[in-house]
């Protein structure tokens, strides 16, 4: 007699695959605003030693339509695939957080096991605009804010682009801003900072120290007084990952082509920065609809510690990678390495 199919439902609310799960699931951030019918992309990784066959199903927020909402998938042992779903009917929400549910049902003779992940995703895209980099966040109302919480403190990432610059505003809720150099000793004191990495689409971070970096990596810190800020370039494509992973002094890494202004209002520190596209243009071409990778670490050493957009965006624990980020003197690193630096981001048209 054949046994009835057994269906197990496992909720993966925190994005951590449980031991014994056949697959891990993750929804990528949207890179196109909901009204423009973005593709919703599900990453699925086979955690088994053998092949996996199943169906991926996507449930959208109210008002959205997914057609078709089911797709077959087959994976070799350890293989990861991206499965795209067409969306329609989505509208922008001011909070820029959209609740999706993705599930994967295995197809086996004994029945299927269903893994479910509920995940709120954001539209991670930079509208076209030319802000003045002065530390005043007033010009950023037409950006698409991406917010996440770590240790009860809020971080909001906003981006703009134009032909000449990629611009970033990071609003960091924190008790105190620690500037670089306030004690007179630049590298010995832990400082607040924002560390970002930009990489071309379809690149992967190496896993060997001998591999080459494929990222442009920058650090922004508050210096002196007022809205003074400084940018340092930590890595560029071609650099050995081992070199980037060494803990280096920031002295000599100043990047004068970038602009940085850091201001503080109440409990919020605003890092407003711009990075010139020209040195990156052959790898990341500034044009409408361009997709690339953009990742952020917020350093709050006397508060929450490191705030990692990779974790908030739902990367799997297996995607932590010590070679993904440069070490620098003045940073306070956690016990575990940060997540990978390959988070989806887009360049889009202006809001109106």
């Amino acid at each position: 007699m054949r046994l009835p199919a057994v269906v197990l439902i496992v909720l993966m609310l925190a994005g951590n695959a449980l031991a014994g799960d056949p697959v891990a699931l993750r929804l990528e951030s949207l890179t196109v605003a909901p009204p423009h019918q973005p593709l919703a992309v599900v990453d699925i990784k086979n955690l088994q030693d053998g092949p996996y066959q199943g169906t991926v199903t996507l449930e959208a927020p109210d008002g959205w339509r997914i057609a078709p909402d089911k797709q077959p998938v087959s994976l070799g042992a350890g293989e990861t695939k991206r499965v795209s779903f067409r969306t329609e009917g989505g509208l922008n929400l001011a909070v820029n957080s959209y609740p999706f549910t993705v599930s994967a049902s295995a197809v086996t003779k004994a029945g299927g096991r269903t893994i479910v992940r509920k995940q709120n995703i954001s539209c991670a895209s930079a509208p076209y605009f030319k802000p003045t980099i002065d530390g005043d966040p007033a010009e950023w109302k037409d950006a698409i804010p991406v917010a996440f919480l770590v240790g009860g403190k809020k971080t909001v990432l906003s981006t703009y682009w134009n032909r000449r610059q990629f611009c970033i505003l990071v609003a960091v809720e924190e008790d105190k801003l620690v500037r670089r150099g306030t004690s007179g000793c630049f590298d010995a004191v832990y400082v607040d900072a924002v560390q970002v990495a930009l990489s071309p689409q379809d690149t992967k971070t190496g896993k060997s120290p001998d591999d080459e970096a494929n990222r442009f990596e920058f650090l922004f810190v508050a210096t002196g007084s007022g809205t003074n800020g400084k940018c340092f370039q930590l890595a560029e494509p071609g650099m050995k990952l081992a070199e980037a992973a060494k803990c280096r002094s920031l002295d000599g890494l100043e990047y004068e082509k970038a602009q940085a202004a850091v201001s503080r209002t109440g409990s919020i520190t605003y890092y407003e920065c711009s990075i010139p596209f020209r040195p990156m243009r052959s790898k990341i071409r500034p044009s409408e609809g361009r997709e690339f990778f953009f990742s952020v670490l917020v350093h709050d050493p006397d508060g929450t510690g490191i705030r990692d957009w990779g974790q908030a965006a739902g990367l799997w624990p297996s995607q932590r990678n010590a070679l993904a980020w440069s070490k620098w003197q003045g940073a306070k690193w956690g016990e575990k390495p940060p997540f990978d630096n390959k988070l989806e981001w887009g360049l889009c048209s202006s809001k109106y």
Binding site: V32, P35, H36, Q37, L39, S84, R86, E88, L91, N92, P127, Y128, F129, K130, D142, N162, R163, D202, R285, S287, E288, G289, R290, E291, G346, S349, S350, K351, Y352
Partner: protein, 355 residues
């Protein structure tokens, strides 16, 4: 006679020819018309594209205009449609002044786009593409509506107001374009990106009818870049219509896609369908394409290669990357029975013109 004098004389003769042929201005927001087409007259479409490597938009405009003038040979221009992607108003105006230093500004129309493509390649940075329309076999009516009142309205917040204003704008625009038995194609260039553009198309269809062939592309929607061009001048929150008339035919096709393979495949299918449905000798191809589609391509050239497999490499091809496309929509959800053209996104809209 030196070259400069030759150019000046050509320009003067062109203006005189337009005047003698009865080119006239009318007042709506603005409109102008050429005389009716001759039944057996020729239809000449020529396309040129210039990439500016020197950050000198005026020189690029002048170079493109001279190249178009040369390509047209002895055929007087009736209209020039501009697709350009220089950054900021000052550079766009320098470009227009360069174009209009060679060609009569009265016939220079078009819009800011995200780039252009022709048989010679694709551009997305500081470039201009010109479509020259000439010959006794084609007549042009061109119109402008301004102050649409929707440029700063968000679709999700002001949908009803956008619908009302753009339908009215579309109707007004179509009404100033003379409707004759010989009207064949409306090229619509609105500062009203997808999904707003659909309402403007519906407005024009109130005058022209649901089966009238309409194609076109929405202007670049980036802050400070949103312009349409009429009589060589930039206008915001406006729309330009170019109605082509004469004893010729058009064949339209549209396809939608959102991934690399789909964009390449759909471009080939759409172009092939437009060619297959065209019974006659094509004179040129218009392709209003989505900038979002381009962004999904690993290599821009792959889509152009797919188009060229369908239309060949000889026909003049005027392509531009837009913020919304107008033509026969591909999506079942968006299709409407009895309606040929609609405004949408993620599409490439082909039009084959010829006799």
């Amino acid at each position: 006679m030196n070259y400069r004098n030759s150019q000046s004389w050509t320009k003067l003769l062109l203006i005189l020819a337009l005047t003698c042929l009865g080119w006239s201005a009318a007042r709506a927001d603005d409109a102008w018309y050429t005389p009716p087409a001759k039944s057996s007259g020729e239809i000449v479409l020529k396309v040129v594209m210039v990439e500016d490597e020197d950050e000198n938009p005026a020189a690029a405009g002048k170079q493109a205009a001279k190249a178009l003038e040369k390509a047209m040979g002895s055929t007087p221009l009736k209209a020039v449609i501009v697709s350009e992607c220089f950054e900021d108003r000052q550079n766009k105006e320098k470009l227009l002044s360069g174009i209009c230093s060679v060609l009569p500004k009265e016939i220079v129309l078009g819009g800011a786009t995200y780039g252009s493509f022709t048989q010679k390649g694709c551009t997305d940075f500081d470039s201009v593409c010109l479509l020259g329309i000439g010959g006794d076999g084609v007549a042009v009516a061109a119109g402008l509506v301004t102050n649409l009142g929707t440029a700063k309205l968000l679709f999700e917040d002001h949908r009803e107001l956008i619908e009302k204003r753009l339908r009215a704008g579309g109707e007004k625009l179509a009404a100033v374009l003379r409707k004759t038995d010989n009207d064949q194609l409306l090229v619509l260039i609105p500062d009203a990106h997808s999904p707003k553009s659909q309402y403007m198309v519906e407005g024009t269809q109130k005058v022209l009818g649901n089966q009238f062939p309409i194609t076109g592309g929405c202007a670049n929607k980036n802050a400070g870049q949103t312009f349409v061009y009429f009589r060589g001048k930039a206008h915001e929150d406006s729309a330009v219509g170019v109605l082509l008339s004469g004893n010729f035919k058009v064949s339209l096709s549209g396809r939608m896609a959102k991934d690399n393979e789909g964009v390449i495949r759909s471009a080939n299918e759409g172009a092939a369908e437009a060619m297959a449905n065209f019974k006659g000798k094509p004179a040129g191809v218009l392709a209003f394409n989505c900038a979002g589609r381009r962004s999904k391509l690993k290599n821009f050239q792959d889509e152009l290669d797919a188009i060229q497999k369908a239309i060949g490499k000889q026909l003049p091809l005027f392509g531009c990357y837009c913020a919304g496309e107008i033509g026969p929509v591909d999506s079942l959800e968006e299709k409407k029975p009895g309606v040929l053209s609609r405004g949408s996104g993620w599409h490439v809209m082909f039009t084959v013109i010829g006799r």
